[in-house]
Symmetry: C2
């Protein structure tokens, strides 16, 4: 199936519910909202499942598409959802169609358009919208720019390719408001977040000749910064900005006093090996675990294991 | 004149010296080096003026093109240089040709290709290289990607448009190594810089209901972070990340104990009005001044003036 087939399929249906994934990011929200808007331009009744986990920043863009309580969907489309376990409760086995770019997609839907070479699902939805309506309108272009830019770290991640840039060019031409979107999603952070970043950087210690960088965020720091969970997006990526860092650890003190650990590493160094020692897991370059100890004690224990892993 | 005319003109010349601007950035260095490499592919003898002000990061890319002492140029081309005052000493009045994108270009060269709607000079040089050699090779693509990405803040500044994204797509297709370049120019910072950022964020204070943000960098902080001038690129932009900030001040203690002040503001608030009160100046949204007082005292004095300006 290609984008044109997908458009044709969707035009045959009505009363469509679009599903986004748990802990929604800019790609699932932006892609689903843009598709919703474009299908409405083609006269369809279509809504988003009201994903209440959307951050305040994303909610502003998608809430207007959230289905009312009395909406009775006849056709269900998952957008940017790799696995049906990532649906809200009650939707397992109910996806009629899936549009996704994750190579790990579990093929749970009856029909699917999965293009794993696309950096974001937004790029696929862009092609579907072009098949539906010739080109995206400004609102759809903004939503797809959110999808594309957030899933590529504003064109900095390793998934970016020529096609991503061409999609961005098309969205710019379709009226995407690049400057306010970039300010909102990449430049500006809450005052609490910026205070917390200061504390996090100040907490950083360098080990093994700088190759290992450890940062800590305690409950006391959260309180002093006035920070909430909303301010903690991708904190685990920050210690990795340090040039010397090859393996970086972020230790976050939990409400019960235990330590949640996020590990990131360069290729050739196993983050999951570090976390496996504490019953955790993940990928080679990004893994996590929880240690039932204070951050200071957890740090000592982690550094001992890191020594082994680096050896 | 267009890119094809420029290519034709350059092919008529030989023993070409390419000039970059003082305090060189990625655009002048990347554009000039790429043009140098492409002209060599067409059999020309061509070198860059050895701009010793290039940062360590940029020097790695351009030093191999620096002219030897005994090079006798017959034709001089300025790349990304808005004004001949921005040349190294001795080149005023000697530019035969100028390739630039600055709307403020003073038209000092005998011939010129100036396209002020391009986000970077690299985009113009890309077109010239396409006219010279059909397409950039990998080295040229890397150099032009440095030019384009640094001049657009990795596609985040207000100068980005559809054309910038299309140029990036062409460079990606020509083999530009996006991921290591993005890591080097946008993601990674020195360990000293990241420590200094932590101290800077921790020094921040919020005034006038958060509209005014002040950060301080003292000599003691520089020393504690192990930071040098190389680590201080665009520190003045950091307090402006705070969401509430409309007017932000960075106060840097100088070697003589005085305070160098950088002011940034949103449209509608005059940075230069703040600085004018201390004998400084600049633009409406970015200005500077020096105050012969300690940072603490300078901060008090500045906040008093800011109150007036905001009123």
């Amino acid at each position: 199936m290609n984008a044109k087939d997908a458009a044709r399929l969707l035009l045959e249906k009505d009363n469509i519910l679009l599903l986004t994934h748990k802990n929604p990011d800019g790609d699932t929200i932006g892609s689903a909202s843009a598709l919703c808007a474009a299908l409405r331009r083609r006269g369809k009744t279509v809504w988003l499942y009201p994903n209440r986990q959307a951050s305040t920043k994303l909610a502003r863009w998608c809430e207007c598409y959230f289905a009312p309580d009395d909406f009775k969907p006849e056709y269900t489309v998952a957008v940017d959802v790799a696995d049906e376990k990532l649906f809200a409760l009650g939707f397992e086995g109910r996806a009629d169609f899936c549009i996704d770019h994750h190579p790990t997609n579990t093929h749970y839907a009856r029909r699917e358009l999965i293009l794993a070479d696309r950096s974001s699902c937004g790029e696929i939805v862009l092609d579907v919208i072009k098949a539906l309506c010739a080109k995206p309108n400004r609102e759809e272009a903004n939503l797809l720019y959110i999808a594309l830019s957030t899933d590529t770290g504003c064109f900095q991640y390793s998934n970016v390719n020529a096609r991503s840039f061409r999609a961005a060019a098309e969205l710019a031409e379709a009226g995407a408001e690049l400057q306010p979107l970039n300010l909102s999603f990449f430049r500006k952070v809450s005052d609490a977040r910026i205070r917390l970043e200061g504390m996090l950087y100040n907490s950083m210690s360098f080990h093994n000749g700088g190759r290992v960088v450890v940062a800590t965020v305690t409950r006391e720091m959260m309180q002093a910064a006035g920070a909430t969970e909303d301010d903690c997006d991708d904190l685990a990526g920050l210690p990795g900005r340090a040039e010397s860092g090859e393996l970086t650890l972020l230790i976050r003190e939990q409400a019960d006093g235990s330590s949640k650990v996020s590990v990131r590493s360069l290729p050739g160094i196993s983050s999951s090996a570090v976390c496996a020692a504490f019953g955790g897991g993940g990928h080679a370059q990004a893994a996590g675990c929880t240690i039932a100890e204070t951050p200071e004690r957890a740090k000592e224990m982690l550094l001992a294991v890191v020594d082994e892993v680096l050896r």
